[in-house]
Subunit: 222 residues, 4 copies
């Protein structure tokens, strides 16, 4: 079973479609029941969804409680962006970004480690190439993404010898609804589609008893 | 004039003492009026304090509103730590750490840039060597500290050609009350005192028209 | 056509075997003609090899001169390690490590960029997880590996808009002859085989017109 | 006693002048006896120099053999730069850069650790802000500088509990003869002078029994 968060649009939805099309049982989540039910229409009848707000720890616990069995792979794809020079970023939008990117990721990592640290589970965390270097007019976004990266790398040190794998994925910009809620204009024609990105990332995930692909950067050609 | 945050104890209090002793006019802040008034007793009568909660943007604005003139140097030293394996860190403590470390720093950076980006001000932001590499049982702390680092490095790119300097300081562990609120036991005798650390950091701050010490790591001998 | 360097043993040889088995035309290189001819016996008759010393720029040029057409993928897997506290590393061994790891990589990058920067070529450079964080008793090895990483990241900035892709691969320790020449003892049973590693890395390589997997870390479970 | 390398010009010469003016006994080195003797004319009669080629390990040993007592501080400031797109960098110039920057630094670190690891010595290694992020047309220079950074950080792990301190300094561009030998044109009027830089860096160096300023970035205003 595959659990996908942030699946009401963009890369999360693309992962839900991809795993479903390849015959996996998929459970997908997002905040909006309506959007999730629209995605459900694109999937097989075996796919299931559950609305929840991952910034709320109780919601995260109840999501994991609802799982019938241990997922093989959890893809945490929830997140949002808001850009601009720091003095023009609204303080409330800054808080929202912290919540949507950092709090959700910590909550998902914490609950996965708590429940599954002794099981062979892959927790795949989707960040952004913005985690890899500072960028003007993306300060808060870079900050919360690099925070998640440090979180993963610190928790990995706690998981030595454990079968649970934390997999860090850093995709460059894709043509998704993500940008609608930001205040940046990008030319969609020059961006990867979310479906292409999901396919390349899924192709890169692999592991054996002795090793695993732990970090993947998907760069956009520019 | 020097503005020092997080000055009710530890390194912030040490900076307030040091600048005051050297004849600077110091305004210092913290959350607890009582603690601040205790620090005030250690300082000259020219020093002044104001209680405020830097996680609250309105408080940050009112702090800056209360300044009679542009500070030469702002030392942001507020912060807190909470440690342990991720699954044992309390979700509320995690949120508190995000607020106390990341939100306060973003708020201070944003307001300083907004008001003073065209003035020769030094904004010194105290982080931790935990910002520089991942560490087991310090995951949230590493995450929020590296987030502040990325924030600084991104905003610097927005400040090219401006006289405002963002100065990043990464001190190793010191013998302060910081550790009382964490759940780690350290041997104070092996740690730098906050006063020694403040002195070394202050000594390292310098700038000319064409350059400035932008990043300082103060490592503890171990 | 696939060009593989460092193919007389270890991961390079594994890549040669893997691509050959999947029907690609493979040209592989190494310093020792004898070792290369032994590897050739494991491959189909379409595979070909050429002995050369990549620390010598003239050899690199003559290797590229000998190619009948532009390779689709070049896998640069040459390298060597020598470990121990810095004061116990022999100065000549230090020079050898610089030559075998940094000089060969710069030479390969330089010649590939010079010839193929306007062609859709993937240059895959195999480094090590030692490039990703400092390590005691591996100082020179970490230094030369992180140097190659910086080289790749700098040259990528020069290749914006070009079809040539530089792909950085950071594998953890594998069970190969690499360790014989170093002075470290590892338990082979706990290490990935070179063939497993090659398969996982090859699986992760993919690209579209708009994006490509640019960085891959293959961690060893420990 | 203070030992300064790379002192025939630029920042090295500035350090020699600064420490000499403050009454320290200075021994300074460089490759050209003639240049060194010109610098000597600017210094007090207590200063001494010795020509040597730090890329040659025997020269490094003989330099240390010639010291009458353990230096308090060693400032390694030797280095050179050569810039341009990778395919336009001459292979011999690339080798020279590796030798002048990476080999000299490793040699100095190795010999200092070997002789003084149990003594309270500060080994200050001057790199460049080019060590801190990749840059187009500076690929080899970034590579060798970040290699020295990794070297320092790895060797520090070997020196835990030892009184010898490795201090990493990353200055931005200064107005020195360094640029004459490179192929980049900079406007000297916008650059820090070497003397200003030396003063700011020297001011930042400080230590106590329990801690020390270990890393300093001196950024240029731009």
């Amino acid at each position: 079973m595959i659990l996908v968060t942030g699946a009401s649009s963009g890369l999360g939805a693309a992962f839900a479609r991809l795993y479903d099309a390849q015959g996996y049982k998929v459970l997908f989540t997002g905040r909006s029941k309506e959007k999730l039910s629209n995605i459900a229409k694109q999937l097989s009848t075996s796919a299931d969804y559950k609305a929840c707000d991952l910034t709320n720890y109780a919601d995260v616990e109840s999501l994991f409680d609802s799982l019938e069995r241990t997922p093989n792979t959890i893809i945490h794809s929830a997140g949002s962006g808001h850009f601009g020079p720091i003095e023009e970023q609204d303080p409330q939008q800054i808080q929202l970004q912290i919540q949507n990117n950092l709090t959700t990721a910590i909550n998902m990592i914490r609950e996965t480690v708590k429940r599954y640290k002794d099981e062979p589970v892959n927790l795949v965390i989707i960040m952004s190439t913005a985690a890899l270097s500072p960028r003007a007019e993306m300060s808060t976004y870079c900050a919360v993404k690099v925070a998640v990266k440090a979180m993963i790398e610190s928790v990995r040190l706690e998981l030595k010898g454990k079968p649970l794998n934390l997999i860090a994925v850093y995709p460059g910009g894709m043509a998704t609804e993500f940008w609608d809620a930001s205040n940046i204009t990008l030319h969609a024609a020059e961006l990867m589609s979310a479906d292409d990105a999901a396919q390349m990332i899924k192709g890169a995930l692999s592991n054996s008893d002795l090793g695993y692909i732990s970090d993947i950067t998907l760069s956009r050609k520019q």
